[in-house]
Subunit: 127 residues, 2 copies
DNA sequence: AAAGTATATAAGCATATACTTATATACTTA
DNA sequence: TAAGTATATAAGTATATGCTTATATACTTT
């Protein structure tokens, strides 16, 4: 089973890698949480930058990574770009994480919980 | 609220950061999954290196990161070190992830699911 | 005791990451 | 139209990451 072009990676391990990489930065975690905790459904780059105490390009960079990982999505209104959650994709992300931990817990015999869905991690060598 | 020394970081965002960083590498994901899928409860560094097609130092490095993140744990038998899952910590890790996604889904109004537990992400500026 | 095996770590190197300042582009307002 | 605002991106820089080869240390076997 060959590795597919990484920009169109279809195997679960690569999807999880991208997701965990995106969330593996405290500023991006805080961005996500603050958006979840705020009074608004969506937020612009400059508002997020100010809220986080980051420069505009830093905020833009982080938001782009979160969008690429399909944690966030964006809509354009005039010269404003608003970021909000990618609701459908987040459900899929959670399912993948649940599946992974399901596998781990079976091994630990701690929780008698079957992996959900029919996803399978594609096992392949990196080389 | 001050940032605590990062090696003794007690706030949730830093714990999640470390966890996601550890899993945000495809080789480490595969290490975890292969350990979960194998016939054995534990595996030595050289076995894992061979299984993954990595050099011994690379495997050791990855296993160390997974141990530090409390995904794996290790026991020493003679000159062998065996790695296996850190069962108790994994449950805690999953709870933290469930909490985070619970916060996100409330915002999305997709799933009427309360965040579990009384963990709260500590909101603070990085600077 | 010498040789063999397992492992963590050091050091080196290429690349990635996360920040900065600068700037081009798109849009809005005066 | 000119000026102002929002944003993504370029380029630069310091640091982190993930690999390599080399090696010291701990243990086992001969």
């Amino acid at each position: 089973m060959l590795r597919i072009n990484s920009s169109k990676c279809t195997d679960l391990s690569c999807e999880l890698e991208e997701l965990f990489k995106a969330l593996g930065n405290v500023n991006r975690l805080l961005i996500v949480y603050r958006l979840a905790s705020g009074e608004v459904e969506q937020i612009s780059v400059t508002e997020m930058a100010r809220m986080m105490g980051l420069t505009q390009p830093a905020a833009s960079q982080h938001l782009k990574i979160l969008k690429t990982a399909r944690i966030l999505d964006s809509t354009k209104h005039g010269n404003h770009i608003y970021y909000t959650f990618n609701e459908d994709a987040l459900i899929h992300h959670k399912e993948k994480i649940d599946f992974l931990f399901g596998c781990l817990f079976i091994k630990c015999h701690k929780i008698d919980e079957k992996p959900k869905g029919n996803n399978r991690l594609i096992i392949q060598s990196k080389k």
